[in-house]
Structure formats: structure tokens, C-alpha cells
């Protein structure tokens, strides 16, 4: 494992040991890191595992110079290092690939890489950058066109740019924050090949993930964090996923929700040749046709940005259709307003819950009645009946196990999982015919995810037609009865869940295969 030289092919000196010792970081009301110890060696992939909010990102942002620790220190090869900004950590040989890519879409690949050069003087030498970039991408098998604009690249290609960028900057230690979240299974495999090559050359890699099998597959050591503390650091030898999950959550976790057999009913939603444009006025939906029956979950799989969001918004009435038809419960709804669609049995759990689903500065109760605020049950003549609203909200809080200090608490003070539960509670209390759930568990902790998936399965059993949109293929596989794959605004195939395999779905998601 240990190459003889101390210089990496990318030119930077190896970082034999990087250690974070006794790191604490406090944010208002939260202790994000509580005396955390973590280290990574050259030639090692060290996985950092934990739920959202466990403190992984904070710890890595401290290592990358984005945050300053309140306590503790960072050492590189035994010497104390202080990073005031990413400029410092980059100089020290530390690179980071963020979950949300740190690329400037309006710049070319070469320009994005050149942005990180600090010793180049006032004039840009793009030719030289381009040459080295090509050499690096060849050496690591990362196919990239250096001259295209980043906005023209697919998500997988953008990630390759991120990796080349980190290598170019001479990253001896590279932090990868949830790098697989947006990739197709095939792209994940390619990424892992590259990462193993980098490890074998002597890079230090920190791999952040919440996908247990990826961690098992890739890493040499695993550190699990929970509630800002390190639970344990273990070598990756014969560790069971169940054990890792228990370390993460603190209790046993059920990965597969119960999916009792359901007899599907009549068609509740029929989408025929639906067309729509995206925010840039480009065609985002191309003649999409779908059907969902009562008691059926139709999962929409696909890399984000392939029309899933536009499909959901079009059905919910938030985006005008430019052609086609949407039939809910036998009636065409395209000409109806959002309010009318809600009244005819549609419920929508939107993708960006903080932007579209709720208002952070409103209370839990106000958010609970947001869409029904003129329903007679909440009114007392022209005025609100606050007692009725309170009873209704408290009832939702109890039924859906929403953790909140009270119904008057401002929504922005709730965790993502609890906000999502409230939205779900609100949407389901209207007893919908069709539920559109867009990314229902993204950014939600495992406990809440487990609960939300359970609720979706209950709804399925009670005969609701469910349109599930998720980038998490595992979630799609776990919940759906049928799976439709979207690629560039088209449904490239619909398969029964029992006939689906990850390999085929991945190829379809990448546009390489149709079914």
C-alpha cells in the first residue's frame, strides 16, 4: 500500500497523517461537534458515517478551513496547522468535493480549474492549465472536455470536474462529501475505481456517506458519528450493515418497510402526452404518459434535472403545461387552479419543503392550516377559531409523531424530518386520491425516513395512488410497485418492481438503454 516516494503523481507531498483532535464547535443552540477525534492516513480511505445533523459536515468544514473550531486542533504530520480559510487548507494540500458542487456554471471546465490557482500572477495562462488538466484526466481515466461550459455537463461529468480540480490543486488529502448522492449506479462504480487508484497512489481520502453498502464496499476504516460525537472508529473487516446502522441511529433500524400485498383499483391518475417547459423556457417534459391506480406506488427514478420536478409541478398546477392531458379521478384537471386541484383530491409534498411547502416564520399551527385556511372547520364567522386550529394541530402532532415544543413554535425551529412529517400530516389529513411525494426523505434523518416510508405504505394500503419521485434508487426500489425512469424529459421505460434490477435502471437513467 505504501509507495516508496513521498511525492504524489499530482505533484503534492503526501500527508502521512492528518488528525483532528478534541474538536468542538458550537452554533447557537447546538453543539455540532463535541470533542471529536478523527484522523486519516496516506493511502487510506476513511469513511465518515452518520445521519444528517450528526456533525460530519461541520467537522469536515473545519478541516477545510470554512469554520474555525471553538476547541481542539488540527495536526498535519504531527505539526499543528491553523486554517483560516480554504485558501490555507488548499495550500496545505487539502481539497474538498462538496455535496453541492462548487463549480461556476458559466465558466468553462478549464476556467473553473484555473480559478483555484493562486501562484499564477495577474494574467491567466489557460493553455497551460488546459494541458495539465488533460494530462490529469487521462491519468485517472476521468473523461472531460476542458473547453465546454460547466452548465452543459451532466451531474456525473461535473463530479469528474470536481475530482480533477481537487487533483489539480495538488490535493493530497481529499474530502468527498456524499459524492454518490446524485450518481447513477454505473457512475458510482466508475467513481470508486478512481478513488481506489488515488488511494493506492498515496492520497488520503475521507468519504462521507450515509449509504451503508457503499461505505462497506469502499473504505478501509469507518468512523461513525451521532449527535456531534464520535461513536466509534472501526476497521472495515466483516462489519455488518445492521451493526453500522445501530451505531448511527442508536437503535435497530428497519430498512425495508412492510409492503403488504394490495389489490390495485381503478386508474386514479392518467397523464397523457404531457409537455412543459423548464425555468429557462426549454422543453423539459416531452410527451410524458403515465398511469397510477388506487393502491399503487409509481416510482419515478432518474438523475435530478431530467424533468421529474417539472412533472410534479405540472400535475400539481404550479407550472403550465404546453400540451397533453392530466386526468385525476376521471376528470381533466389541467384547466383547474391549484386550489381546485387540491379540492379534487390531489396532495403534494414538494421537493423543496422550505421554499414551496412551508413558511419558516409561521408557527406549526399556521403551517398546518396553510392550504385549508378558509375551511369552515377553522372559522368562526369571519374570524379564525383558534381553539379549533389548536385541536387540529395537536392532533396532527400526536398522530404523526412530530417532535415540536408546541403548536405555537415557529416552523423554522423544527428539524427537517419533523417539517417533512408536518407537511405529510397536513397533506394526508385531506384524505387525497393522489399523493405526489417528491424527495420525501431527502435530508431527513433515518428515524424520520423510516416513519415517513411507513406512512406512505399505509396510504398505499388504504387505496391512495402515490407518485413517488426520488433520486435515491434504494428508496424507489423499496417502496414502488412500478418504476418509471425519466431521462431528458422523457419516460424511457416503465418496469415492474419485481422485474427491476439496479444495473438496468442505472443504464436507463444514463440514457443508455430503454425498456
Amino acid at each position: 500500500m505504501m509507495p516508496p516516494t513521498t511525492t504524489l503523481p499530482s505533484g503534492h507531498t503526501r500527508i502521512e497523517t492528518a488528525a483532528l483532535q478534541g474538536i468542538s464547535k458550537r452554533f447557537p443552540g447546538v453543539l455540532a461537534n463535541d470533542h471529536v477525534n478523527f484522523d486519516v492516513n496516506a493511502g487510506e480511505i476513511h469513511a465518515l458515517l452518520g445521519e444528517n445533523g450528526a456533525g460530519k459536515s461541520t467537522l469536515m468544514k473545519i478541516l477545510y478551513g470554512l469554520y474555525q473550531p471553538d476547541e481542539g486542533e488540527i495536526t498535519l504530520n504531527g505539526e499543528v496547522a491553523r486554517f483560516h480559510s480554504p485558501a490555507d487548507s488548499l495550500t496545505a494540500g487539502i481539497g474538498m468535493i462538496h455535496q453541492h458542487f462548487m463549480l461556476v456554471p458559466t465558466l468553462t471546465v478549464t476556467e473553473n480549474v484555473a480559478l483555484g490557482i493562486r501562484s499564477g500572477g495577474p494574467l491567466l495562462n489557460l493553455k497551460q492549465v488546459r494541458k495539465r488538466l488533460i494530462a490529469l484526466s487521462d491519468a485517472y481515466g476521468l473523461k472531460i472536455d476542458p473547453d465546454v461550459y460547466v452548465w452543459q455537463l451532466s451531474v456525473g461529468e461535473q463530479q469528474r470536474v470536481e475530482i480533477v480540480k481537487a487533483l489539480y490543486q495538488g490535493g493530497a488529502l481529499i474530502i468527498l462529501d456524499e459524492p454518490t448522492a446524485v450518481l447513477t449506479p454505473q457512475e458510482v462504480d466508475e467513481l470508486f475505481v478512481t478513488l481506489r487508484q488515488m488511494r493506492d497512489e498515496g492520497h488520503s481520502l475521507i468519504f462521507i456517506s450515509h449509504k451503508l453498502y457503499e461505505v462497506q464496499d469502499l473504505s478501509d476504516r469507518i468512523t461513525v458519528m451521532r449527535d456531534g460525537r464520535v461513536v466509534d472508529t472501526i476497521a472495515n473487516h466483516g462489519v455488518e450493515q445492521r451493526t453500522l446502522a445501530r451505531m448511527m441511529v442508536g437503535r435497530d433500524v428497519q430498512f425495508q418497510p412492510d409492503r403488504p400485498p394490495v389489490t390495485v383499483g381503478e386508474v386514479k391518475l392518467a397523464v397523457r402526452s404531457l409537455c412543459a417547459q423548464n425555468d429557462r423556457d426549454l422543453l423539459a417534459l416531452k410527451e410524458v404518459s403515465l398511469e397510477i391506480r388506487a393502491g399503487e406506488v409509481l416510482g419515478i427514478a432518474g438523475v435530478s434535472g431530467n424533468g421529474q420536478r417539472e412533472l410534479a409541478e405540472c400535475i400539481a398546477g404550479l407550472r403550465p403545461a404546453t400540451g397533453g392531458e392530466v386526468i385525476l379521478n376521471g376528470h381533466s384537471i389541467l384547466s383547474l387552479s391549484v386550489q381546485e386541484r387540491l379540492q379534487s383530491g390531489l396532495s403534494f409534498v414538494p421537493e423543496e419543503r422550505n421554499r414551496h411547502g412551508t413558511i419558516g416564520s409561521f408557527s406549526v399551527a399556521e403551517n398546518a392550516i396553510l392550504q385549508n385556511n378558509d375551511a369552515p372547520q377553522f372559522l368562526n364567522g369571519p374570524f379564525y377559531n383558534f381553539e379549533a386550529i389548536r385541536r387540529y394541530t395537536v392532533d396532527l402532532i400526536q398522530k404523526f409523531n412530530i417532535k415540536t415544543p408546541g403548536h405555537e413554535t415557529l416552523l423554522k425551529n423544527l428539524s427537517g424530518g419533523n417539517v417533512q412529517k408536518l407537511i405529510l400530516a397536513r397533506e394526508l389529513s385531506r384524505q387525497p386520491v393522489l399523493l405526489i411525494a417528491a424527495q420525501p426523505t431527502r435530508g431527513v434523518d433515518i428515524g424520520a425516513s423510516e416513519y415517513i416510508r411507513g406512512v406512505l405504505m399505509q396510504q398505499r394500503s388504504s387505496g391512495v395512488a402515490i407518485l413517488l419521485i426520488s433520486e435515491d434508487l434504494d428508496e424507489i426500489m423499496a417502496l414502488s410497485d412500478r418504476i418509471a425512469v425519466m431521462y431528458e424529459g422523457e419516460v424511457v421505460g416503465v418496469v415492474d418492481r419485481d422485474d427491476a434490477d439496479v444495473e438496468t435502471l442505472g443504464l436507463m437513467m444514463a440514457g443508455a438503454q430503454r425498456a
Binding site: M102, V104, L107, L115, R280
Partner: protein, 320 residues
């Protein structure tokens, strides 16, 4: 009522006047372009122009220090830099709402230039101004010579600044950083770029150029200073940046179009051009450049796609 002037004479004269009139717009709009490309909308251009217009003329006039026009220009640049610094401090460091801060800066510039004008000058300042320079050889060219090469030095500088701006944006490290922090400051920050420093420098450069714009209006174009003499030109410069889709060449095209339309409507009045025997009401003609600008804006849809994504958004680390 007969006249001997030919259409060619008029076109030559109009072209020359258009270039001169476009000069202040070009300086101010190119400066604003840098600020906006870095993510800061500076609506204080109007105020900075006024201060640049006053201070430059004041120091070169006999009411001030009888200084050389170059000194006047330098003072305007310095004042512009200081006001740019104010804007940068308020919008980058204090992260105040940029539109409101810019309006505040404009009000400050209007009030301050009026106050200084009354206290120090007590009446219209006549500066004499900057003389036209005939470029050797080139000014002797037929037609082109009298259009392009019989202008004052600031006009030459303004038009030279267009390719220079393109070059700076595309070929220098700083230009790349400006483009990056205006689109995705988080990404630039993660690459080790000092977002605040880049935005400060871009806004201050914008201020310097707005100061020059003011000086070119007072010292060169009119040769006088009068209260509020910019009369909204700073805001037109901001509009030209949108009009030009954040591209220096297109901003130049916008400045020329606006100035040409304005000059055209003056010629229509001067030559008493009639439609079916009836004079065209001047009020209608005066609106022409504005109407034209709005019409072009409506059809220039490309503009939306090129808008710096982080425009008007303060940057705070770890926000995403």
C-alpha cells in the same frame, strides 16, 4: 430657408456628437458592469457621477484651484473610489440590501454635491473643459477622420476601455475571479478566492469609472457644473448593463444606440422634419431613446440567461 448641408454632412456631424454623448454612459456602464459581474448591483452610480462631476470641475475652475484637467480627473477618480468603497462596505461587509444601499448612495451624492456646490461655488461653475484632440494622421481621413478622430481624450479612453474590459474579464486572474464570485461565490470561496476582496475591488473600480463618467460629463462634454446635472444618466448606465447582457461590447452598442437615438431626435427637431406637413411634437421625440431602449430590452431575452446568478446576493460562508 434653403440650406446647403448634405445628408453626408449631417451623418458625419451626428456620428461625432453621438460618440461624445455616449462617453459618460460608457464609463459609468462599464464600471457598473464590473460591479455587477462580481455580484453587486450598485444603484449609487448617479450619486457618484454627480460627485465626480462637481469635484473635477471645481478643482480645475477659478473658484477652486485652477488645476490642470488631469488633476480634476484624478480627483473625480479618487472621490469615485471612496464612494465605491462606501458601497462595498455597506453591501459586502454589512450585507445590506443592495438596491436600498445604492439609492442611499445616490441620495448622498445628490445632497452632498449640491451642498458643496452651494457652499464652495455659490453659482454655476464654468470650467472651460477638456479640448478636443485630433489624432495625428487619422483625423485627416475623409469622413471617418472627423467622426472618430476629432474627439476629446476621454472619449478615446472610454472606447478603448471596451476591449480592455473584455480582456480583463477573460484573460486575467482577477477577471476570472470577478466572473466566478458573481455566479457562485460559494464555489469561488471553496477554491480559495477571497470573495469579499474581489467584490470590494470590483465595486471600487466601478466607483472610479463612475467618477470619471461624471468628470467627462462636466469637464469634457458640457464644461460646466450645475446642481443635479447628471439628470438620471447614472440610472440609464445601470439599465445599459442589463441592456447589454453584461457584455462590454453590447453595453457599448447600447450606449451608442441610446445616444444616437437621442441625437437623431434632436436633428429631427433642428431640421424641422415634418410628417405630412405637420411638425412632430418635441415631447414625443424626446421620448424616442427611452422607448427604443425599452423595446430592445423586451426583445433581448438572452439577457436573463446571462445575469450573474449571485447578483444582489450577499455572500456568507457556510450558508448553503
Amino acid at each position: 430657408m434653403e440650406s446647403s448641408r448634405t445628408l453626408l454632412d449631417i451623418l458625419i456631424a451626428a456620428s461625432g456628437l453621438t460618440l461624445a454623448a455616449a462617453t459618460p454612459f460608457l464609463f459609468a456602464a462599464l464600471g457598473e458592469l464590473f460591479a455587477q459581474r462580481s455580484g453587486v448591483l450598485n444603484l449609487g452610480v448617479e450619486g457618484i457621477m454627480l460627485m465626480g462631476a462637481f469635484t473635477s470641475v471645481f478643482v480645475i475652475s477659478d473658484k477652486g484651484f485652477n488645476a490642470h484637467p488631469a488633476v480634476g480627473l484624478l480627483v473625480a477618480m479618487l472621490v469615485g473610489a471612496l464612494m465605491g468603497l462606501m458601497m462595498a462596505f455597506v453591501s459586502v461587509t454589512l450585507q445590506a440590501e443592495q438596491g436600498i444601499s445604492g439609492i442611499g448612495l445616490t441620495l448622498f451624492g445628490q445632497g452632498m454635491s449640491t451642498l458643496l456646490f452651494r457652499v464652495l461655488a455659490a453659482g454655476v461653475i464654468v470650467a472651460g473643459g477638456v479640448e478636443k484632440i485630433d489624432l495625428p494622421v487619422l483625423s485627416n481621413l475623409p469622413v471617418l477622420g472627423s467622426i472618430f478622430f476629432h474627439q476629446d481624450i476621454l472619449t478615446y479612453a472610454a472606447f478603448a476601455l471596451v476591449p480592455i474590459s473584455v480582456w480583463v474579464l477573460n484573460r486575467t486572474t482577477w477577471g476570472l475571479q470577478v466572473r466566478a464570485v458573481g455566479q457562485n461565490p460559494q464555489a469561488a470561496d471553496s477554491m480559495g478566492v477571497n470573495v469579499a476582496r474581489v467584490r470590494y475591488s470590483a465595486v471600487i473600480l466601478g466607483g472610479v469609472l463612475a467618477g470619471v463618467a461624471g468628470a467627462s460629463l462636466s469637464m469634457a462634454l458640457t464644461g460646466v457644473f450645475q446642481e443635479n446635472m447628471t439628470a438620471g444618466r447614472g440610472f440609464i448606465a445601470v439599465a445599459l448593463v442589463y441592456f447589454g447582457g453584461w457584455s462590454p461590447w453590447k453595453v457599448m452598442a447600447g450606449a451608442l444606440l441610446f445616444s444616437a437615438a437621442n441625437n437623431l431626435q434632436i436633428w429631427v427637431q433642428v431640421l424641422d422634419v415634418r410628417v405630412a406637413g405637420a411638425a412632430i411634437p418635441p415631447n414625443l421625440l424626446i421620448m424616442l431613446p427611452y422607448v427604443l431602449t425599452i423595446v430592445v430590452l423586451i426583445f433581448a431575452r438572452e439577457r436573463q440567461r446571462r445575469e450573474p446568478a449571485a447578483l444582489t446576493k450577499p455572500f456568507e460562508r457556510g450558508e448553503n
